[in-house]
Amino acid sequence: MLTELLTKDTIQLANFVNTWQEAIHLAASPLLKHNKIEERYIEAMIHSIEKHGPYVVITPKVAIPHARHTEGVNALAMSLLTLQKPVLFGPKKPVFLIIVLAATDNASHLQALVDLTKILQVPNQIDSIIACQHKDDIIKEIQQIVAKE
């Protein structure tokens, strides 16, 4: 499931961004381009963090911005952005890996999140993905991790 969502079309690598808001805009741009989300979903993700704090930083170096599906999701989708230089989502919350979640309902994305959990529970796996210099390498890393029992 995760490997169907994170593809060449939805994975991006960048050197750096200036703000966490810019990071979310950039990370979500493939989903906007492919009409999976509407512009207002990006604003909703940003607003959610402004309101609740950087809780989307679920483990060191990783943020999973998301909002409610009613706030502009057209289809289940995910996108991934890696940064060579971290961007701060909050004090002491440097982030190198941003995975945007766009769910269509509360159940359809669960298998993809189970797969995502497999990646994020091992810090070495996160570092491996951040270290990748090409989209193909990121795809290979994800495939290998998800295939593990």
Binding site: G53, Y55, I58, P60, H66, R68, A103, L113, T117, Q121
Partner: protein, 87 residues
Amino acid sequence: MKILVVCGNGLGSSFIMELNVKKALTELGKVAEVTHTDLASAKAEKADIYIGAEDIVNQLPEERGHIVSIVNMMSISEIKLKLIPLL
């Protein structure tokens, strides 16, 4: 025993953390009902333990039950450490 995992939107981070809380309970050999929800619903739902990111659970009134704030939501060891005294 009911444990409610709370996030800002009720999907995404709270579901991932629900998986991790269940894993932590299994490793501790404990049984509890674990579900996830958003902050607004959590304020109206009764549970023994409310668990989530610090930014989120700190917005819950203390009299609702035990409130557990987690820094690294992917860390099974942190979740276990903070739940043990409450189980």
